[in-house]
């Protein structure tokens, strides 16, 4: 138990400002990434569910590419390859763009499944009231299918948040990167990884609690 005996709380306290900055950067990239993944998932999920020609095939290709390659490879691609074709991005931009594209692909599938689970007969009830197909989507398919997609899309948002920790490799000073560099300089490995574990647990717990509230409010009162 040497490791516990040598655990120094004060070391964490001494580095609190840097860690706080890292935490804020994690939250920034996550918030933009989750927001973007929501929008991408919603739009492409709707396009996939309604089998809109060409756009649907393009969306499917995007989803397959992202789902079938490691996110680390995607990050490297954005960070190292894009500058060669003239698109050079800041580490912060790479961070949120990468998690957004990743989360958007998974969320496309979440929303597609949700929208497809809305029975055709409910859509017909909307059409019969005189809604155009697009307004039927907004008034029937979206509220019903969005609720069906909610639990799985929440898992995606949590993964988006945790995936920001990979931005270590592009030098974006988010929480993991900050903790990693502190322990690299000081060899205070255990303290730093303990901080990371507790911090991520706390963030994800808070996020899940928030989302559970939302879920309870929006829950469909019956099985379809």
């Amino acid at each position: 138990m040497d490791i516990l005996a040598s655990f120094e709380w004060s070391f964490i306290w001494e580095n609190r400002e840097e860690l706080w900055e890292g935490f804020k950067n994690t939250m920034k990239a996550s918030a933009i990434g989750i927001g973007g993944a929501f929008v991408i998932g919603l739009v492409l999920g709707a396009i996939r569910a309604h089998r809109i020609p060409v756009a649907s095939q393009l969306a499917a290709t995007y989803v397959e590419i992202i789902r079938n390659t490691p996110i680390l490879v995607q990050i490297f691609f954005i960070f190292y390859f894009l500058p060669r074709v003239g698109v050079s991005l800041e580490p912060f931009t790479v961070a949120w763009v990468a998690v957004m594209i990743w989360g958007g692909a998974f969320n496309t599938e979440n929303f597609r499944a949700g929208f497809e689970a809305v029975p055709q007969r409910l859509r017909e009830a909307g059409l019969a009231l005189g809604f155009s197909p697009f307004k039927t989507f907004l008034n029937v398919t979206l509220p019903v299918g969005g609720r069906i997609a909610l639990p799985s899309s929440i898992n995606t948002y949590i993964s988006v948040l945790k995936n920001t920790s990979l931005m270590l490799v592009v030098g974006y000073a988010e929480l993991t990167a900050v903790a990693y560099s502190i322990q690299a300089n000081t060899f205070r490995t255990f303290e730093m990884f303990a901080v990371l574990a507790v911090a991520y647990l706390a963030i994800v717990w808070m996020l899940s609690a928030l989302i559970r509230l939302l879920e309870a409010r929006l829950r469909l009162p019956e099985a379809l």
Partner: protein, 282 residues
């Protein structure tokens, strides 16, 4: 119950579309519809005048539900023409959503929106399609809930209601839009027997209030008492039509007779029925 019928009439009194000139509300000319090789409607002609209740009966698969779905353009037809208040609605360039606003339909499975309370189910179309102010829409909805006997259910969700109650809400939801014709697609077929009556009563009162209706049903008693005209369909064709009592009691066509005999409601006892080679009750 007569007062209730008049009640619905009062609720619909400001109907703009109660045209009393000779134009039929719905007229269909030689409708043909098939799903792949399967011919579902094979040259249907049909006419419904203002205030009339047309009842359509026939064996399952005879195309009667498809006919209703074609009339409010949920199904495209292969050939033929459908007119609504004199205007052809099957030609290119017709705003389908605008036509549907004036045609109410009630489905076998109710199809209420599960995420909305009864009140919002009723007002959604009025507010978002007709752009009626919420207050006005809710007032109208409350009136109709009284008429269908469910004034205390406006805060309920559909799943908290019985099938009969859900179906009455569905009827009210269609009526909020002030339709010029109401289509009923086997609206009691999914209900437990003891819940059928409450829905049929609402429909009877609606018919008495002067609503133009096309009712696809298996309820022979309803057809007899409420229908102004009865149409018997089989294999995508209209086999026979006329005054309901005439068709039911003195069918001219053998196919009508066969159907009515098979229909248990018309047989006096199960003993009269046997199973034929084709597996049908005879």
């Amino acid at each position: 119950m007569q007062e209730r019928g008049e009640g619905i009439a009062a609720a619909l009194a400001d109907e703009p579309g109660a045209k009393t000139n000779g134009t039929p509300v719905v007229r269909a000319e030689q409708i043909h519809k098939s799903f792949g090789d399967n011919v579902v409607l094979d040259g249907i002609d049909l006419e419904v005048s203002t205030g009339e209740t047309l009842v359509v009966i026939g064996p399952s698969g005879s195309g009667k539900s498809t006919l209703l779905r074609c009339i409010n353009l949920l199904e495209p037809i292969q050939s033929g023409r459908i007119f609504f208040e004199g205007e052809e609605i099957t030609k290119k360039g017709v705003r389908v959503d605008q036509v549907r606003q004036r045609i109410g339909i009630v489905f076998q499975q109710f199809n209420l929106f599960p995420h909305l309370r009864v009140m919002d189910n009723l007002t959604l179309g009025a507010r978002r399609v007709k752009k009626m102010p919420r207050r006005e829409a809710e007032e109208r909805a409350r009136d109709l809930l009284v008429r269908v006997g469910l004034p205390e259910k406006e805060r309920s969700y559909p799943h908290q209601l019985s099938g009969g109650q859900q179906q009455r809400v569905a009827i009210a939801r269609a009526l909020v839009m002030q339709p010029h014709v109401m289509l009923f697609d086997e609206v009691t077929s999914a209900l437990d027997p003891e819940l059928v009556g409450e829905v049929l009563v609402v429909m009877r009162d609606l018919a008495r209030s002067g609503m133009t209706m096309i009712v696809v049903t298996h309820e022979m008693q309803f057809a007899r008492e409420v229908g102004d005209r009865l149409t018997f369909m089989d294999e995508g064709k209209i086999v026979e039509q006329g005054i309901p009592a005439d068709v039911l009691d003195r069918p001219k066509q053998e196919r009508t007779r066969k159907f009515l005999r098979r229909s248990l409601q018309m047989a006096h006892s199960l003993e009269e029925l046997t199973i034929t080679q084709e597996g049908e009750a005879e």
